[in-house]
Amino acid sequence: MKYADISYLLKSKEAVQFMKKYNFVHYQQEQIHYLFKKCLFIEIFAMEVENVIYIDFYSNEATASSNIDVLLSNFSKAEKNKVILNYKHSPIEYSQEDKSQGFKNARLTRERKFFIYLQLITKFFEPILQCKDFRNFDFEESFDVHKNRVLSAKQEYLKTKKSRFLLGDDIL
Protein backbone atom coordinates (compact mmCIF):
# COMPACT_ATOMS: atom_id res chain seq x y z
CA MET A 1 0.00 0.00 0.00
CA LYS A 2 1.27 3.45 -0.85
CA TYR A 3 0.35 6.73 0.70
CA ALA A 4 -1.32 9.08 -1.75
CA ASP A 5 0.19 12.39 -2.68
CA ILE A 6 -2.10 14.95 -1.08
CA SER A 7 0.46 17.76 -0.95
CA TYR A 8 -1.43 19.63 -3.63
CA LEU A 9 -4.50 19.68 -1.38
CA LEU A 10 -2.51 21.20 1.50
CA LYS A 11 -1.19 23.83 -0.88
CA SER A 12 -4.65 24.79 -2.11
CA LYS A 13 -6.01 28.26 -1.46
CA GLU A 14 -8.64 26.90 0.95
CA ALA A 15 -6.15 24.89 3.01
CA VAL A 16 -3.64 27.73 3.17
CA GLN A 17 -6.38 30.14 4.33
CA PHE A 18 -7.53 27.60 6.93
CA MET A 19 -4.00 27.22 8.32
CA LYS A 20 -3.47 30.95 8.39
CA LYS A 21 -6.80 31.67 10.08
CA TYR A 22 -6.15 29.22 12.90
CA ASN A 23 -2.38 29.67 13.15
CA PHE A 24 -1.45 26.17 12.16
CA VAL A 25 2.08 25.23 11.26
CA HIS A 26 2.23 22.72 8.46
CA TYR A 27 4.75 19.94 8.70
CA GLN A 28 5.06 17.08 6.22
CA GLN A 29 6.75 13.79 6.92
CA GLU A 30 6.89 11.80 3.69
CA GLN A 31 3.23 11.69 2.62
CA ILE A 32 1.75 12.32 6.05
CA HIS A 33 0.81 15.90 6.83
CA TYR A 34 0.61 17.45 10.26
CA LEU A 35 -1.00 20.75 11.19
CA PHE A 36 0.34 21.91 14.54
CA LYS A 37 -0.87 24.56 16.93
CA LYS A 38 -0.69 25.18 20.64
CA CYS A 39 -3.45 22.87 21.82
CA LEU A 40 -3.53 20.16 19.20
CA PHE A 41 -2.27 18.74 15.99
CA ILE A 42 -4.14 17.27 13.07
CA GLU A 43 -2.78 14.35 11.08
CA ILE A 44 -3.91 14.07 7.47
CA PHE A 45 -3.12 11.33 5.00
CA ALA A 46 -4.65 9.09 2.35
CA MET A 47 -3.84 5.85 0.60
CA GLU A 48 -3.47 5.75 -3.19
CA VAL A 49 -5.82 2.85 -3.62
CA GLU A 50 -8.61 4.27 -1.43
CA ASN A 51 -11.02 7.14 -1.90
CA VAL A 52 -10.75 8.03 1.77
CA ILE A 53 -9.09 10.99 3.44
CA TYR A 54 -7.95 10.25 6.98
CA ILE A 55 -8.03 13.21 9.37
CA ASP A 56 -7.17 12.51 12.99
CA PHE A 57 -7.14 15.05 15.82
CA TYR A 58 -4.66 14.73 18.68
CA SER A 59 -4.60 16.96 21.71
CA ASN A 60 -1.59 17.72 23.83
CA GLU A 61 -3.50 16.32 26.80
CA ALA A 62 -2.90 12.81 25.48
CA THR A 63 -6.42 11.95 26.56
CA ALA A 64 -8.44 13.68 23.89
CA SER A 65 -8.05 12.42 20.39
CA SER A 66 -10.25 11.08 17.70
CA ASN A 67 -10.79 10.78 14.01
CA ILE A 68 -12.83 13.48 12.35
CA ASP A 69 -15.88 11.34 11.71
CA VAL A 70 -16.20 10.45 15.37
CA LEU A 71 -15.87 14.12 16.32
CA LEU A 72 -18.45 15.16 13.75
CA SER A 73 -20.92 12.63 15.09
CA ASN A 74 -21.47 15.04 17.99
CA PHE A 75 -23.27 17.42 15.66
CA SER A 76 -26.64 17.45 13.95
CA LYS A 77 -26.89 15.43 10.76
CA ALA A 78 -29.15 18.06 9.25
CA GLU A 79 -26.64 20.82 9.96
CA LYS A 80 -23.82 18.78 8.47
CA ASN A 81 -25.88 17.94 5.40
CA LYS A 82 -26.44 21.63 4.78
CA VAL A 83 -22.68 22.03 4.47
CA ILE A 84 -22.21 18.90 2.39
CA LEU A 85 -25.09 19.53 -0.01
CA ASN A 86 -24.24 23.18 -0.52
CA TYR A 87 -20.59 22.45 -1.22
CA LYS A 88 -19.46 23.74 -4.58
CA HIS A 89 -15.94 23.12 -5.77
CA SER A 90 -14.34 22.43 -9.11
CA PRO A 91 -11.53 19.88 -9.16
CA ILE A 92 -8.20 21.62 -8.77
CA GLU A 93 -5.31 21.17 -11.11
CA TYR A 94 -3.13 18.16 -10.36
CA SER A 95 0.35 18.27 -11.86
CA GLN A 96 0.94 14.53 -12.13
CA GLU A 97 -0.76 12.10 -14.46
CA ASP A 98 -3.09 9.65 -12.74
CA LYS A 99 -2.08 6.02 -13.21
CA SER A 100 -5.54 5.02 -14.39
CA GLN A 101 -9.12 6.17 -14.36
CA GLY A 102 -9.58 4.26 -11.11
CA PHE A 103 -6.79 6.24 -9.45
CA LYS A 104 -8.20 9.47 -10.83
CA ASN A 105 -11.67 8.66 -9.49
CA ALA A 106 -10.24 7.85 -6.07
CA ARG A 107 -8.18 11.03 -6.06
CA LEU A 108 -11.09 13.24 -7.05
CA THR A 109 -13.30 11.68 -4.37
CA ARG A 110 -10.59 12.25 -1.76
CA GLU A 111 -10.23 15.81 -2.94
CA ARG A 112 -13.94 16.50 -2.62
CA LYS A 113 -14.03 14.94 0.85
CA PHE A 114 -11.00 16.95 1.93
CA PHE A 115 -12.59 20.29 1.07
CA ILE A 116 -15.92 19.35 2.62
CA TYR A 117 -14.11 18.28 5.79
CA LEU A 118 -12.35 21.65 5.86
CA GLN A 119 -15.73 23.37 5.76
CA LEU A 120 -17.18 21.10 8.44
CA ILE A 121 -14.15 21.63 10.67
CA THR A 122 -14.44 25.39 10.29
CA LYS A 123 -18.16 25.37 11.03
CA PHE A 124 -18.28 22.95 13.94
CA PHE A 125 -14.84 22.86 15.55
CA GLU A 126 -14.34 26.53 16.27
CA PRO A 127 -13.82 25.97 20.04
CA ILE A 128 -11.20 23.34 19.31
CA LEU A 129 -9.44 25.37 16.68
CA GLN A 130 -9.37 28.42 18.95
CA CYS A 131 -8.11 26.22 21.81
CA LYS A 132 -11.02 27.32 23.96
CA ASP A 133 -12.76 24.85 26.29
CA PHE A 134 -10.69 22.14 24.76
CA ARG A 135 -10.75 19.91 27.80
CA ASN A 136 -14.52 20.06 27.97
CA PHE A 137 -15.13 18.94 24.45
CA ASP A 138 -16.89 15.61 24.22
CA PHE A 139 -14.42 13.22 22.68
CA GLU A 140 -15.95 9.79 22.47
CA GLU A 141 -12.61 8.05 22.57
CA SER A 142 -11.10 10.10 25.35
CA PHE A 143 -10.49 7.15 27.61
CA ASP A 144 -9.44 4.56 25.13
CA VAL A 145 -6.39 3.13 26.82
CA HIS A 146 -4.66 1.78 23.78
CA LYS A 147 -5.22 4.86 21.76
CA ASN A 148 -3.77 6.97 24.51
CA ARG A 149 -0.72 4.79 24.67
CA VAL A 150 -0.19 5.08 20.94
CA LEU A 151 -0.90 8.76 21.05
CA SER A 152 1.62 9.34 23.81
CA ALA A 153 4.27 7.55 21.83
CA LYS A 154 3.33 9.50 18.75
CA GLN A 155 3.46 12.80 20.60
CA GLU A 156 6.88 12.05 21.98
CA TYR A 157 8.04 11.15 18.53
CA LEU A 158 6.61 14.29 17.02
CA LYS A 159 8.08 16.45 19.75
CA THR A 160 11.47 15.04 18.93
CA LYS A 161 10.89 15.64 15.25
CA LYS A 162 9.66 19.10 15.99
CA SER A 163 12.71 20.10 17.95
CA ARG A 164 15.01 18.60 15.36
CA PHE A 165 13.43 20.30 12.43
CA LEU A 166 11.50 23.44 12.02
CA LEU A 167 9.04 23.97 14.84
CA GLY A 168 9.54 26.27 17.82
CA ASP A 169 9.38 25.28 21.49
CA ASP A 170 5.97 26.82 22.06
CA ILE A 171 4.13 24.95 19.33
CA LEU A 172 2.80 22.10 21.44
Binding site: V49, N51, L72, F103, K113, I116, E140, D144, V150
Partner: protein, 185 residues
Protein backbone atom coordinates in the same frame (compact mmCIF):
# COMPACT_ATOMS: atom_id res chain seq x y z
CA UNK B 1 7.01 -7.21 32.05
CA UNK B 2 7.95 -5.63 28.73
CA UNK B 3 6.56 -6.95 25.48
CA UNK B 4 9.93 -8.30 24.41
CA UNK B 5 10.47 -10.19 27.63
CA UNK B 6 6.97 -11.58 27.48
CA UNK B 7 7.34 -12.81 23.95
CA UNK B 8 10.65 -14.38 24.82
CA UNK B 9 8.68 -16.80 26.93
CA UNK B 10 7.46 -18.30 23.68
CA UNK B 11 4.65 -20.78 23.95
CA UNK B 12 3.63 -19.65 27.41
CA UNK B 13 3.12 -16.18 26.02
CA UNK B 14 1.20 -17.60 23.09
CA UNK B 15 -1.19 -19.32 25.41
CA UNK B 16 -1.62 -16.22 27.50
CA UNK B 17 -2.36 -14.12 24.45
CA UNK B 18 -5.31 -16.27 23.45
CA UNK B 19 -8.80 -15.50 24.66
CA UNK B 20 -10.70 -17.61 27.11
CA UNK B 21 -13.09 -18.47 24.27
CA UNK B 22 -10.28 -19.93 22.23
CA UNK B 23 -9.04 -22.00 25.10
CA UNK B 24 -12.52 -23.30 25.74
CA UNK B 25 -12.95 -24.24 22.11
CA UNK B 26 -9.81 -26.31 22.29
CA UNK B 27 -8.10 -24.35 19.55
CA UNK B 28 -5.05 -24.28 21.74
CA UNK B 29 -4.02 -27.77 22.75
CA UNK B 30 -2.72 -27.23 26.21
CA UNK B 31 -1.24 -30.68 26.51
CA UNK B 32 1.02 -30.41 23.49
CA UNK B 33 4.66 -29.61 23.89
CA UNK B 34 6.28 -27.10 21.59
CA UNK B 35 9.79 -25.79 21.46
CA UNK B 36 9.88 -22.11 22.33
CA UNK B 37 11.43 -21.19 19.02
CA UNK B 38 8.68 -23.04 17.15
CA UNK B 39 6.19 -20.29 17.81
CA UNK B 40 6.34 -17.31 15.49
CA UNK B 41 5.75 -13.86 16.85
CA UNK B 42 6.24 -10.22 15.98
CA UNK B 43 8.51 -9.10 18.78
CA UNK B 44 9.26 -5.50 17.96
CA UNK B 45 5.84 -3.98 17.52
CA UNK B 46 2.61 -4.04 19.50
CA UNK B 47 -0.28 -2.96 17.29
CA UNK B 48 -2.90 -0.45 18.33
CA UNK B 49 -5.30 -3.30 19.15
CA UNK B 50 -2.92 -4.12 22.00
CA UNK B 51 -2.86 -7.77 20.93
CA UNK B 52 0.47 -9.52 20.77
CA UNK B 53 1.03 -10.86 17.28
CA UNK B 54 1.75 -14.49 18.03
CA UNK B 55 1.03 -17.18 15.45
CA UNK B 56 -1.07 -20.22 16.26
CA UNK B 57 1.38 -23.13 15.78
CA UNK B 58 -1.43 -25.37 14.57
CA UNK B 59 -2.92 -23.02 11.99
CA UNK B 60 -2.14 -20.05 9.77
CA UNK B 61 -2.57 -16.69 11.48
CA UNK B 62 -3.92 -13.98 9.20
CA UNK B 63 -3.31 -10.38 10.22
CA UNK B 64 -5.71 -7.57 9.31
CA UNK B 65 -5.54 -3.90 10.16
CA UNK B 66 -5.29 -0.35 8.99
CA UNK B 67 -2.15 0.25 7.01
CA UNK B 68 -1.19 3.51 8.63
CA UNK B 69 0.01 2.99 12.17
CA UNK B 70 -0.28 -0.79 12.19
CA UNK B 71 0.25 -2.87 9.05
CA UNK B 72 3.08 -0.71 7.75
CA UNK B 73 5.04 -1.49 10.94
CA UNK B 74 4.21 -5.19 10.89
CA UNK B 75 5.21 -5.81 7.29
CA UNK B 76 8.99 -5.69 7.91
CA UNK B 77 8.65 -8.58 10.36
CA UNK B 78 6.99 -10.84 7.81
CA UNK B 79 8.94 -13.63 6.10
CA UNK B 80 8.53 -14.29 2.36
CA UNK B 81 6.30 -17.28 3.07
CA UNK B 82 3.98 -15.11 5.17
CA UNK B 83 3.01 -12.98 2.19
CA UNK B 84 -0.22 -13.67 0.27
CA UNK B 85 -0.52 -17.26 1.49
CA UNK B 86 -2.56 -19.49 -0.79
CA UNK B 87 -2.75 -17.00 -3.67
CA UNK B 88 -0.97 -16.78 -7.01
CA UNK B 89 1.00 -13.85 -5.58
CA UNK B 90 2.30 -15.87 -2.65
CA UNK B 91 5.18 -18.31 -2.33
CA UNK B 92 3.30 -21.02 -0.46
CA UNK B 93 -0.17 -22.53 -0.41
CA UNK B 94 0.04 -23.34 3.30
CA UNK B 95 1.99 -21.73 6.11
CA UNK B 96 1.03 -23.64 9.23
CA UNK B 97 2.47 -22.00 12.30
CA UNK B 98 3.20 -18.84 10.34
CA UNK B 99 1.44 -15.65 9.39
CA UNK B 100 -0.57 -14.56 6.38
CA UNK B 101 -0.16 -10.95 5.30
CA UNK B 102 -1.62 -9.38 2.16
CA UNK B 103 0.90 -7.46 0.12
CA UNK B 104 -0.04 -6.79 -3.47
CA UNK B 105 2.68 -5.36 -5.75
CA UNK B 106 2.09 -1.70 -6.52
CA UNK B 107 1.74 -2.21 -10.26
CA UNK B 108 -1.31 -4.43 -9.74
CA UNK B 109 -3.21 -1.90 -7.70
CA UNK B 110 -6.30 -0.29 -9.09
CA UNK B 111 -8.75 1.35 -6.75
CA UNK B 112 -11.75 0.17 -8.77
CA UNK B 113 -10.90 -3.51 -8.62
CA UNK B 114 -8.47 -4.03 -5.77
CA UNK B 115 -10.79 -5.44 -3.13
CA UNK B 116 -12.67 -7.82 -5.44
CA UNK B 117 -9.57 -9.04 -7.30
CA UNK B 118 -7.09 -9.43 -4.46
CA UNK B 119 -8.35 -8.66 -1.02
CA UNK B 120 -11.57 -10.64 -1.05
CA UNK B 121 -10.19 -13.90 -2.53
CA UNK B 122 -7.25 -13.74 -0.14
CA UNK B 123 -9.53 -13.31 2.85
CA UNK B 124 -11.93 -15.95 1.54
CA UNK B 125 -9.01 -18.36 1.44
CA UNK B 126 -8.12 -17.55 5.03
CA UNK B 127 -11.68 -18.21 6.14
CA UNK B 128 -11.98 -21.42 4.15
CA UNK B 129 -8.75 -22.73 5.70
CA UNK B 130 -9.97 -21.82 9.15
CA UNK B 131 -7.10 -19.42 9.82
CA UNK B 132 -6.91 -17.57 13.08
CA UNK B 133 -7.50 -13.93 12.24
CA UNK B 134 -5.96 -11.24 14.44
CA UNK B 135 -6.99 -7.62 14.12
CA UNK B 136 -3.97 -5.38 14.45
CA UNK B 137 -6.41 -2.49 14.53
CA UNK B 138 -9.43 -2.97 16.76
CA UNK B 139 -12.36 -0.73 15.81
CA UNK B 140 -14.17 0.64 18.83
CA UNK B 141 -16.55 2.94 17.00
CA UNK B 142 -18.40 2.47 13.69
CA UNK B 143 -17.08 5.84 12.58
CA UNK B 144 -13.61 4.35 12.48
CA UNK B 145 -14.90 2.20 9.62
CA UNK B 146 -17.35 4.52 7.90
CA UNK B 147 -16.90 8.16 7.04
CA UNK B 148 -19.22 11.15 7.16
CA UNK B 149 -20.22 10.44 3.58
CA UNK B 150 -21.47 6.93 4.28
CA UNK B 151 -18.47 5.26 2.61
CA UNK B 152 -16.50 2.40 4.08
CA UNK B 153 -13.15 3.76 5.21
CA UNK B 154 -10.78 1.93 2.94
CA UNK B 155 -9.63 -1.64 2.61
CA UNK B 156 -9.57 -2.47 6.30
CA UNK B 157 -13.23 -1.47 6.64
CA UNK B 158 -14.08 -3.65 3.65
CA UNK B 159 -12.22 -6.55 5.22
CA UNK B 160 -14.08 -6.18 8.50
CA UNK B 161 -17.37 -5.98 6.65
CA UNK B 162 -16.50 -9.18 4.79
CA UNK B 163 -15.69 -10.96 8.04
CA UNK B 164 -19.04 -9.82 9.41
CA UNK B 165 -20.83 -11.09 6.30
CA UNK B 166 -19.14 -14.46 6.82
CA UNK B 167 -19.65 -14.24 10.61
CA UNK B 168 -15.98 -15.11 11.13
CA UNK B 169 -14.77 -13.76 14.45
CA UNK B 170 -11.19 -12.60 14.84
CA UNK B 171 -9.50 -14.45 17.70
CA UNK B 172 -8.53 -11.30 19.56
CA UNK B 173 -12.10 -10.04 19.85
CA UNK B 174 -14.39 -11.11 22.65
CA UNK B 175 -17.85 -12.35 21.74
CA UNK B 176 -19.22 -9.08 23.02
CA UNK B 177 -16.82 -6.99 20.92
CA UNK B 178 -17.66 -9.07 17.87
CA UNK B 179 -21.42 -8.65 18.37
CA UNK B 180 -20.92 -4.92 18.67
CA UNK B 181 -18.98 -4.74 15.41
CA UNK B 182 -21.56 -6.91 13.64
CA UNK B 183 -24.29 -4.51 14.72
CA UNK B 184 -22.59 -1.69 12.78
CA UNK B 185 -23.18 -3.29 9.38
Amino acid sequence: MGAGAAIAKGFKMYRAARSADELAEGAVRGGDELAEDAVRSVDNFVPTSGSQLVANPYKITTILGRWAGDMEHIKPSMLPEDINVGTALGEVAENKGGFNFLNVPDHLYDPDTFFELYNKPWLEGAINRGDDIILATKPTNPLQLMDEFGSLKGMFAEEVQYLVQQNYKPVNLSASEWNTIKSWF
